[in-house]
Amino acid sequence: MNFAAIETATEWCSVALWRDGEILSLERRAGNRQGEFVLPMLETLFRRANLGMADLDAIAFGAGPGAFTGLRIACGVAQGLAFSRNLPVIGVSTLEATAEESGAARVVVALDARMHEVYYSAYEKRDGGWLAALPETCVAPEMAEIPPGAGWIGCGNGFSVYADRLGPRLAGRLERIAPELRPSASAVARLAAPRLAAGEGLDAALATPHYIRDKIALTSSEQGKGK
């Protein structure tokens, strides 16, 4: 099985190719200019792997949560690529991909969600896969749910941006923190591979970002109540 993976939920642009179990990947800091890099980077990987679109069996993408525009770039690119040849698409949690990137077994993930909140979850490695120990949420750091037991690794930039609020909140639970860890396309690819093999890929039209933060505007009647 061969497939491409794209992860653009943070200020990084990350692209990977899965070639029968082997991963080739590229990433770079992109700010909010992922559109300028994502396809040229994929083109480079195709050249290195000596593969083309016709060799792909699926497309995987980091579905979020993360920067809204970044999520839509990953999803839109996945849709466009997959639609060309009716390939199945799979969206993978950006938080789970961050946990996967850590190499640890018990991981709390906190990614900066701006507006004084983090995208937050915790995962435990079980039987080679990840089990969500806490549900994915968007939450103020001081309100984050505390994971059970100890020996957790805190991953993601939430641990540096909100160090003063998350640190005390999770005191005694964390073994160490790794704020520099970020979601990558190769982690997305590793998570996507068994799911694609199990036939969990969807039609391209059904690929959708996972925003979590869904209340983004007030209706006219809600605005009226606020006055």
């Binding site: 559109g35 300028e36 690529l81």
Partner: protein
């Protein structure tokens, strides 16, 4: 040359297939009006979220309608700007990636170029050169168009677009968003002449517009009058008369100043019946010709984007370029 057009600059997702030999093969549109209505206006983030759900189903719809396969495409055209950044980016990401996967070029088109060339898709297309009035919820501009890619700005609104003034007047009269069409409908039952509103900048001796003062005049008038239905209809009529008078006067002035003989009207407000009647009458008196897009192509749509790309790249498509970005603010005269 077979081109798939993708439009996602605001609150309408439009896809279309245009063939340079056979003409417009199919177009499909999803309007988000109902979704934004609850919020009293377009919420950009919600618009972006909706576009990404609509693009593929609409693309499938036009391919099926036209009976063509994706691998027959020679290019994918998308609206590169101006518009809502997040919304534009959905169309750009999809179009660029699809084109990359198919090994064909993706070309970015200026939204207003799409609009102003759209009358050329009608059964009675205008010849170049002409004056174009682009009038919608986001734009009010007069352009001198001497050919594809040759656009010179003659004048534009200094504040609100004409369509925006319609929507704001609707709000003042208690009509639901987007109230522009509702104001026009209400105006049809209103009595002309009961109220007189100012014609902003009608005597300004240039081709600039201003509509924000008119909105204020409507507000003051509505406050000073009883709120019965007949009065509201008369206010709507007075408002529409004022807008139409200004637009007609500026269009005639633009034709005289440029010594051109043809006027092309495009954009959502171009569907307004009273405006069309006013322009037709004035043009007939002065010996000009007026051209409009087909009614269904007055709103945003993918057909105009595919068509503009076909005209622009008539002599041969550019090499594929896989980088993409959008231009939320982009002056048409710089797109040539």
């Amino acid at each position: 040359m077979l081109i798939l057009g993708v439009e996602s600059s605001c609150d309408e997702t439009g896809l279309a297939l245009y063939d340079s030999d056979a003409g417009l093969l199919a177009h499909a549109l999803h309007s988000q009006v109902a979704m934004h209505q609850e919020y009293g206006g377009v919420v950009p983030e919600l618009a972006s979220r909706d576009h990404i759900r609509r693009v593929i189903p609409l693309a499938r719809e036009v391919l099926a309608q036209a009976g063509r396969e994706l691998n027959a495409l020679d290019a994918v055209a998308f609206t590169e700007g101006p518009g809502l950044a997040g919304a534009l980016l959905v169309g750009a990401a999809f179009a660029k990636s699809l084109a990359f996967a198919l090994g064909v070029p993706a070309v970015g088109i200026h939204h207003l170029e799409g609009h102003l060339l759209s009358p050329l898709l009608s059964k009675r297309p205008p010849a170049f050169p002409f004056v174009a009035l682009l009038v919608s919820g986001g734009h009010t501009q007069l352009m001198r168009v001497t050919g594809v890619g040759n656009y010179e700005l003659l004048g534009e609104t200094q504040d609100d677009a004409a369509g925006e003034a319609f929507d704001k007047t609707a709000k003042l009269l208690g009509l639901d968003y987007p109230g522009g069409p509702a104001v026009s409908k209400l105006a049809e039952s209103g009595r002309p002449g009961r109220f007189k509103l100012p014609r902003p900048m009608i005597g300004s001796n240039d081709l600039e517009f201003s509509f924000s003062g008119l909105k204020t005049a409507v507000m003051l008038l509505a406050r000073s009058q009883p709120g019965d239905a007949a009065t509201h209809a008369d206010i709507a009529r007075a408002f529409q008369d004022a807008v139409v008078d200004v637009l007609v006067a500026k269009c005639m002035s633009a034709l005289q100043r440029t010594s051109l003989e043809r006027l092309v009207v495009a954009g959502g407000v171009g569907a307004n019946r009273q405006l069309r009647a006013g322009l037709d009458a004035a043009a007939a008196r002065q010996g000009f010709e007026v051209f409009y897009p087909e009614l269904e192509l007055c709103t945003d749509n993918g057909a105009m984007i595919a068509f503009a790309a076909a005209l622009r790249w008539k002599g041969g498509l550019p090499k594929p370029d896989t980088t993409f970005s959008v231009r939320p603010r982009w002056e048409l005269s710089l797109a040539g």
